[in-house]
């Protein structure tokens, strides 16, 4: 075997282009792994669909299409679909995969290579985006088969999938952050339970103005509310600039915060 160093690093490529390239490589690996274990995606789709069916079954009679203004003429399933999509986006396993790699030494193996530190954070998040986009698409197609319509059409559908998938990146990113901080599978798993308050302290059954006052305050303070309302507007109303704008603003701000904290954490990790 030749034991000669070939000087394979850098080659004039910028740090950011290396970060992007490495992120796509790591993300591609995560997607390949997901395709090899499709059963791991099953809960991501099945549980949100289960909640959709149960919630609609329980409340559809209370909120008939006709006579319920906030449904804009659609069934209650259309109102519930965004909550199911966001629940699906909260199932990302990036944090747990990261803990597994930390515990098994693979994370250190990667860190001892010239891989971009930023890519160690971004790689699986990119995969989360792709996986969530695929699952959300399937869920919406199933919803269409049951008579739910996307008022904003195909462009709105695409915007909706992008917003939900970006939120999946943010949520998975915070779980990765927890994994990097605690290096514990139990703590990371426990931390993921934050999706309960984030998802249920929202106007997920009725619009915000019909919630009780304490619940309305909680929902107003909860950033997920604005993503849910943004997605919901695309399903029920068409393009509502204010609602969509607020949704993307929440995703953008939380994304920047998550990335800043993650990059700081991974750069100081030892």
């Amino acid at each position: 075997m030749t034991a000669t160093h070939q000087g394979t690093a850098g080659g004039g490529a910028t740090e950011s282009s290396n970060a992007l390239r490495d992120s796509f490589i790591l993300g591609g690996r995560a997607i390949r792994e997901a395709l090899r274990t499709p059963d791991s995606l099953f809960p991501t789709m099945f549980i949100p669909l289960f909640f959709l069916v149960v919630n609609v079954g329980q409340a559809a009679k209370i909120f008939p299409s006709e006579g319920t203004p906030f449904l804009f003429g659609q069934s209650y399933g259309a109102f519930q679909l965004p909550a199911s999509l966001l629940l699906s986006a909260s199932f990302g396993g990036a944090g747990l995969y990261l803990v597994e790699e930390i515990e098994g030494g693979y994370f250190d193996k990667l860190r001892a290579t010239p891989i971009s530190r930023m890519a160690l954070v971004l790689g699986r998040l990119y995969a989360e985006f792709v996986k969530t986009a695929a699952v959300a698409t399937v869920m919406v197609l199933l919803a269409l088969a049951f008579g739910i319509r996307i008022k904003s059409g195909i462009p709105g559908f695409l915007v909706m999938v992008v917003m939900v998938s970006l939120w999946a990146m943010v949520f998975a990113g915070f779980m990765q952050l927890l994994a990097l901080k605690t290096r514990s599978a139990a703590a990371t798993q426990g931390g993921s339970m934050i999706f309960f308050p984030l998802l249920f302290l929202t106007p997920n059954f009725v619009p915000r103005d019909q919630l009780t006052r304490p619940m309305e305050i909680a929902a107003t303070l909860n950033p997920v509310t604005y993503i849910m309302e943004g997605v919901r507007s695309l399903v029920l109303e068409g393009f509502n600039g204010a609602a969509i704008g607020k949704g993307f603003a929440v995703v953008g701000v939380t994304m920047v915060l998550m990335l800043a904290l993650s990059i700081r954490m991974v750069n100081n990790y030892d």
Binding site: H5, A9, D22, G105
Partner: protein, 316 residues
Amino acid sequence: MPLVEVSGLTRSFGDTNALAGLDFEVERGTVLGMLGPNGAGKTTAVRILTTLLRPNAGTALIDGINVATEPRRIRTRIGLTGQYAAVDERLTARENLQLIGRFFRMNKADSRERAAELLAKFRLEEAGDRVVSGFSGGMRRRLDISMSLVARPIVLFLDEPTTGLDPRSRMEMWDLIDELTADGMTTLLTTQYLDEADRLADQILVIDHGRGIATGTADELKDRVGGARVSFDVGDAAPEAVLAGIGELRSALGEPFTADGAFVVPVRPGTTAPQVMRSLMSAGIDVVDFELQRPTLDDVFLTLTGRPAEEVVADE
């Protein structure tokens, strides 16, 4: 100039000093065996040298490059295999190798070619396209080491590479490391086992409480411990007869003594245990039992520190 130069390296975790001023060098093309019990600071030293951990003080240079101030340059020049086989179990062996190649900025064709080369070299060709989760422990270890060699490092760090392996896999690993060193790979190997360091290392550094306490070749260290000893049970034979039986070898052996009813004679370099056996038999001494006792890590530690290795509290 040594390829690896470490001077006054310190690192603490809270109140625990994992490294307390470690100094050593590794010459090009040689194997340094870093020997010590759990908690001695071996892994901490390796983690600093591989840029995974920052030192509190001291300097570590690889090929003249400071690991603390230029970690990116260091990472292009090193290979690391840790205590456990660090592979992606959901990928195939070939994919694992190609992935690492891509992080060393190889293009797809080059990483494919290098992966094929390493699969052949490490006898993983047939299993190359199988998902790693079905591999045996030995196969995972071979893959792990091959992943460390993808970018042809100038120095390879093996942190307790045989920990947890069964005896057969351990021997295979030794053969593998022999092959690498025969090709001129500079290697830093940490181990808890003297026999492993003895078999693989050109130089051995014994560390304890984060400091080097002795360095030398395996023979030199054994001499400090007293080297090997032969112990033989001669039944009812008189001690005088046994001493006479050793005959001409007396001057080449240490002072005999008895322990648990057996004769024990330290063997110095240049004399072999079979010579002692032959000498006794030709003198008509009926040897009931005969045993060659080699120094252990405990012997080395007992001699160098005055306490057994087990007393060291693990802090790594």
